[in-house]
């Protein structure tokens, strides 16, 4: 029973990391920026979701509100901050890192703003179904209706996303702009807008991750909550495990990470909560620095 429990908890947590990793990958593919503000943006979106839950009373309305808010914030960040930075710091020693450092700064700004606006309140989001574990043969699992719902929702969203990427013109434009921006432009694609769209999708995915991470935890939300620090770290690690460039890699990276953390905590020591993800990251970087799904050689400079 312990094994099943550990497996299911790992998969659920992992599916949330996968979403976060997907949002890091979407941003990386759009603009070649590692977005450290991603968790901050997810945090902000989750606060939007909290406002919607409080005012409208339904988690299922709050979720799309958070996604929309997250998409909007991300799109604005790309248009106002990143686009300018990438254009203006195109040469010189800090050209490559300027946007990345800017996202770190942005993370700080978002956290500070969130604590100014919501800091004094007891912010709590209750999930749409119970987080009390299922009972099988008299044994109560940790796996709950809520966790099942999270898992199913994440899978459905990923399915939709992969259909959009593989089967639609917008998906083709997103892929072409990521792989060969110049050929995309010569084919008539407005690459600047496609980049903004990539960020917006990332913002929406991060919002779902933030909402689920909150209700999957104890339901409370604060600008310096451990849940969101974990989300940033795990999303980043999962994306790196997946090679940072691959959406499927991000999904598998998230699941692998979720399972590994879950099993380490269960069978080795629960004191390793914060160490385990970093050890896994280091192992991946040592053994396969290009990520499990990354191309062998750098695809291009």
């Amino acid at each position: 029973m312990d094994f099943l429990n550990t497996l299911l908890i790992g998969i659920t947590a992992g599916s949330i990391y996968s979403l976060m990793a997907i949002s890091m990958v979407l941003v990386w593919r759009s603009t070649r920026v590692v977005n450290f503000a991603q968790a901050g943006m997810a945090l902000l979106s989750t606060y939007f979701g909290f406002e919607a839950v409080t005012k409208l009373g339904s988690f299922w309305i709050a979720l799309p509100v958070a996604m929309l808010g997250g998409a909007l914030v991300a799109a604005l960040v790309e248009m106002i901050l990143i686009r300018l930075l990438v254009k203006h710091s195109s040469s010189g020693p800090i050209a490559g890192v300027a946007p990345i450092i800017a996202t770190l700064g942005l993370l700080g700004v978002i956290r500070a703003s969130a604590s100014m606006i919501w800091g004094g309140q007891d912010v709590r989001i209750v999930g749409p179904v119970s987080n009390d574990g299922f009972t099988i043969n008299g044994t109560t699992l940790v796996f709950s209706p809520l966790k099942l719902l999270i898992l199913v929702t994440v899978l459905v969203l990923m399915l939709i996303l992969s259909l959009v990427f593989q089967k639609t013109n917008i998906g083709l434009a997103l892929r072409a702009s990521a792989y060969s921006p110049e050929i995309a432009r010569l084919s008539g694609i407005k690459v600047d807008w496609v980049r903004t769209l990539g960020w917006a999708l990332a913002g929406a995915a991060g919002a779902v991750a933030g909402m689920f991470q909150t209700v999957n935890g104890n339901g409370t939300l604060s600008p310096d909550s451990i849940e969101f620090s974990l989300l940033l770290v795990s999303g980043f690690i999962a994306a790196v495990i997946g090679g940072l460039d691959s959406l499927i890699g991000a999904v598998i990276g998230g699941l692998v990470l979720g399972l590994m953390i879950s099993f380490v905590l269960m069978y080795i020591s629960s004191g390793l909560f914060f160490i385990a993800p970093f050890v896994i990251l280091l192992l991946v970087l040592f053994i396969r620095p290009q990520g499990i799904f990354g191309a062998k050689a750098a695809r291009r400079a």
Binding site: N169, L172, A173, R175, A176, Y179, S180, E182, I183, A184, R185, L186, S187, G188, I189, K190, V191, R299
Partner: protein, 236 residues
């Protein structure tokens, strides 16, 4: 539709890559631009398609100055550019690369018909339609790059060294196809080539670029017969 370039100057930083170039390609004609490495051929082409901004000068297409227009908008005005070195997206399939060429039309039916048209020109692409394009041979990739460009139904085709790295037999095939396309689609074509002889043989007009400036221009056959051009660029 006629392409007219007047006094075009383009810089890479401090280096002047294209210097006061003027040229005219009348509608339906194929012009070959030849010249050695670093003569400014690629820069000229990239400026025509909007990828690079000129320092000064004018580019007139269909009677309008197109300097400052972005490449994604120039496609909509009938200008298609096939970049240097088999310009296809390696991660996408053959079909997706072709679809890319017509994506801005937002008309999937038309795109389907255009794919059938391209496949009738390059049957090899039809055989490999669902393969990733990085599994293609060099010649097939060049066919795909040209196929993607004509998917947008261009009136002006800019080709940057389509013969680069291909076997002689394949080069001959590609050149013949370019000539055929020019006639059948009534295209205006600007063909940049290191393979001067091959390019001049199929071209109507020839332009020799040297150190960023036009050294010689005239009918392609006259250039082939020009002793100076022969010794400098054709090697006999």
């Amino acid at each position: 539709m006629t392409l007219t370039v007047s006094n075009l100057t383009v810089h890479h930083g401090a280096i002047c890559a294209v210097n006061q170039v003027s040229l005219t390609v009348p509608a339906g004609k194929l012009a070959a631009i030849i010249g050695s490495n670093g003569a400014g051929k690629t820069t000229l082409l990239r400026t025509l398609s909007g990828l690079k901004h000129p320092t000064q000068g004018e580019i007139s297409w269909n009677g309008e100055n197109i300097v400052g227009t972005k490449p994604e908008m120039l496609v909509r005005r009938g200008i298609s550019h096939v970049g240097e070195g088999k310009s296809v997206v390696p991660e996408l399939t053959v079909k997706e690369n072709l679809e890319l060429g017509a994506i801005w039309r937002r008309n999937n039916q038309e795109s389907k018909e255009s794919i059938e048209n391209v496949v009738s020109i390059f049957p090899r692409l039809g055989e490999r339609i669902n393969q990733r394009s990085d599994t293609l041979s060099g010649g097939e990739r060049q066919m795909l790059a040209i196929g993607r460009a004509i998917m947008s139904k261009p009136q002006l085709l800019l080709l940057d060294e389509p013969s680069l790295g291909l076997a002689p037999l394949v080069v001959e095939q590609i050149f013949q196809t370019i000539r055929d396309l020019t006639n059948s689609m009534n295209l205006t074509v600007l063909l940049v080539e290191q393979n001067a002889m091959g390019a001049l043989k199929i071209a109507d007009l020839g332009i020799v670029l040297n150190l960023g400036s036009v050294a010689v221009a005239g009918s392609a056959s006259a250039l082939i017969d020009d002793p100076a051009v022969r010794s400098a660029y054709l090697g006999y």
